[in-house]
């Protein structure tokens, strides 16, 4: 087992979207290795393929060509239901638009991933309460997402992503909808997750200032990797 500390490996990954007759190549032969415990920022201009790369890393999509190894498993070769479970256990997603389910309470939203992974009710309930206390939202447990501010909703979505204790946190423009003060508090949370809890954090941003939190910076341009910088 060589390179055991590589948690994610993209090998000549292509993603070509079909727009009717036209092929839109969003990623063109991306090869990169991400080490366990790294804090990676993916930067690049709008349309450079950051989100596409993020979706592939998060197993939300499959590449048109090339291989993706997540914890040494080729995600193009495992079944849909195994992939869903792997995704649920290994990856916590944070989206720009928070993506909470509007009809469910904060509590139910955070509980949901554990229901899919079939945690027992008691553990799930305890974990939900604990994580909501940790992000400072214990008192909003029975509120609906729309009753909370943007920053609070993003904290709920972080709580939801952390509650199953995943190894990788994937965040696509997590502060994109937030003011700079709230954004900074969210960035501090990521930094702590990486520094104190040893999570692998992969974050997409077009904000170079935010990218400075990261240890490794991957710059994309027109669907290809332009530079990789390590601190």
């Amino acid at each position: 087992m060589k390179e055991n500390n590589i948690i994610l490996h993209l090998d000549n990954v292509w993603k070509i979207y079909k727009m009717g007759e036209v092929d839109v190549p969003a990623l063109r032969g991306v090869t990169v290795e991400i080490k366990k415990g790294d804090f990676v920022a993916i930067i690049g201009a709008s349309g450079s393929g950051k989100s596409t790369m993020m979706n592939l890393i998060g197993c939300l999509d499959i590449p048109s060509k090339g291989n993706i190894l997540l914890k040494n498993q080729d995600i193009t070769k495992i079944s849909e239901s195994d992939l869903a479970t792997l995704r649920g256990r290994t990856i916590g997603f944070i989206f720009q638009q928070y993506n909470l389910i509007p009809s469910m309470t904060i509590y139910a939203n955070v509980l949901l991933p554990m229901e899919f992974l079939e945690y027992d009710d008691k553990t799930a309930s305890e974990k939900t309460r604990k994580i909501l206390e940790t992000v400072g939202l214990g008192k909003y447990m029975h509120h609906l997402p729309t009753q909370l501010s943007g920053g609070e909703q993003q904290r709920v979505s972080i709580a939801r992503s952390l509650v199953t204790d995943p190894e990788i946190i994937l965040a696509d423009e997590p502060t994109g909808n937030l003011d700079s003060v709230t954004g900074k508090s969210i960035m501090d949370m990521f930094y702590n997750l990486w520094k104190k809890e040893g999570k692998t954090v992969i974050m997409v941003t077009h904000d170079l200032k935010l990218a400075e939190y990261a240890h490794t910076t991957i710059e994309l341009k027109d669907g290809q990797i332009k530079t990789i910088n390590k601190k």
């Binding site: 979706n55 999509d61 869903a84 995704r87 997603f93 993506n99 009809s103 949901l112």
Partner: protein, 412 residues
């Protein structure tokens, strides 16, 4: 995700559903309600009928002479005497006479038989008169063979002469004044004493056959209009019919083709009628089922819309670990619940409807017993509506489950 959790989320979806879902449910409600109402009404009509016909006796056969061209639906034969069919084959009208009686005596499967004649007679009572039907019966066996029950007084007896037994309606309301037991009634200028009143609603008069020959001018002694036969073993009814037919055909020198008599059994009649009834019933249920199908289309339609509306949520669920089958289960449960709720409300409305219908339809004798929604029909209605929900919801649920997470997430 465990199925119970899928059910919980499906339930949440129904609770949070919009007016549209409730309209969908209304479609199922109407369908189920009409099926339940029709089933219960049909069922009670059938009950009433069985009750009415049950009194006819399954072990009774009626033998009449005449060329039968297929048994008439309600066919006891009109008793007005043998029909003069088949005039080309023979000049003589086929009749039943002593030879036939001899032949019947020789058949051991017959317990008893009653030779009868009947016709219309003038009856008068306390100055009023009218024309009613008179049946002359073999008074020695009549009480054993008939399915009529005595209400007051007694049946005819072997020693009887100038006495009659009359139908309930004739006694009660045919004339201005009711006819009581032991009253004298004039039939064709002869006076008879009423010894029995039947527990029925007929205006018939029964008297010993020998007297009846005198009352009915056109009847010839020794010639019978019909012979009512009670068989020994109801189980062997068809076999007995076969034996009687063979024997009579031999005596009367006829073949299957030229057969000049017919045997009808009340049991057959009963079966024919209830077959008619149940096909009528199925027809009505089929119509109601169409409205259920329309309801199902509504469920499918609403499910498609719902899947579309929830595309983003499906994407979110998939991003946090939902498998295709979890999504499928949630949406299928949702559809099944819509069906169940619709079915449940439908049963309630159907029950109310079927309770109200007899009143709306007037005092129809068919619904005398009142309507009754059976536990069976409730169970059937509920399971059918759940199944309809699942079938209607399957394609949209399947589509939802197959959505690619990225595509679903991008959906706004």
């Amino acid at each position: 995700m465990k199925l119970i959790k899928c059910l919980k989320h499906a339930f949440g979806m129904v609770l949070h559903s919009k007016v549209r879902s409730w309209l969908t449910i209304l479609g199922i409600v109407i369908g189920v309600a009409s099926v339940v109402a029709i089933m219960s009404i049909g069922g009670s009509m059938q009950d009433t009928m069985t009750e009415q016909l049950g009194g006819l006796g399954g072990d009774i056969l009626t033998l009449t002479a005449g060329f039968s061209r297929g048994m008439s639906m309600f066919g006891m034969g009109d008793g007005e005497g043998p029909e003069g069919g088949g005039s080309t084959a023979t000049d003589e009208e086929p009749v039943l006479d002593r030879t036939d009686v001899q032949a019947l005596r020789a058949i051991p499967d017959i317990e008893a038989f009653d030779t009868q004649i009947s016709g219309s007679v003038e009856v008068s009572y306390l100055g009023k008169s009218g024309s009613v039907r008179l049946t002359g019966v073999d008074q020695k066996v009549w009480s054993r063979v008939t399915t009529s029950e005595i209400g007051e007084g007694r049946m005819l007896d072997s020693a009887d002469q100038n006495v009659i037994v009359i139908g309930g309606k004739l006694a009660e309301s045919y004339f201005d004044k009711p006819i009581g037991l032991n009253q004298m009634v004039t039939i064709e200028e002869n006076v008879f004493r009423v010894v029995g009143i039947l527990d029925d609603t007929s205006t018939n008069i029964y008297m010993p056959i020998q007297m009846a020959y005198q009352m009915l001018d056109d009847k010839e002694n020794g010639i019978y209009d019909s012979i009512v036969i009670k068989v020994k073993d109801e189980e062997k009814l068809n076999e007995t019919i076969g034996k009687i037919e063979t024997k009579l055909m031999m005596i009367r020198h006829v073949t299957e083709k030229t057969k000049d008599f017919s045997i009808s059994s009340s049991k057959q009649m009963q079966e024919t009628r209830s077959e008619m009834m149940s096909s009528m019933n199925s027809f009505l249920i089929a119509i109601a089922a169409v409205s259920l199908i329309v309801g199902a289309v509504g469920v499918a339609n609403s499910m498609f819309t719902s899947v579309l509306e929830k595309t983003k949520e499906i994407g979110i669920m998939k991003s946090i670990g939902a498998r295709n089958k979890d999504i499928l289960s949630i949406f299928l449960f949702n559809a099944a619940l819509i069906g169940l709720v619709g079915g449940f409300l439908g049963v309630i409305f159907g029950t109310i409807l079927s309770a109200m219908l007899p009143a709306l339809m007037g005092e129809t004798s068919m619904l005398r017993g009142g309507t009754f929604v059976s536990v069976n029909s409730i169970i059937i209605a509920l399971s059918v509506s759940v199944i309809i929900g699942i079938i209607a919801g399957f394609v949209p649920a399947y589509q939802a489950s197959k959505l690619k997470p990225v595509d679903a997430l991008r959906y706004e």
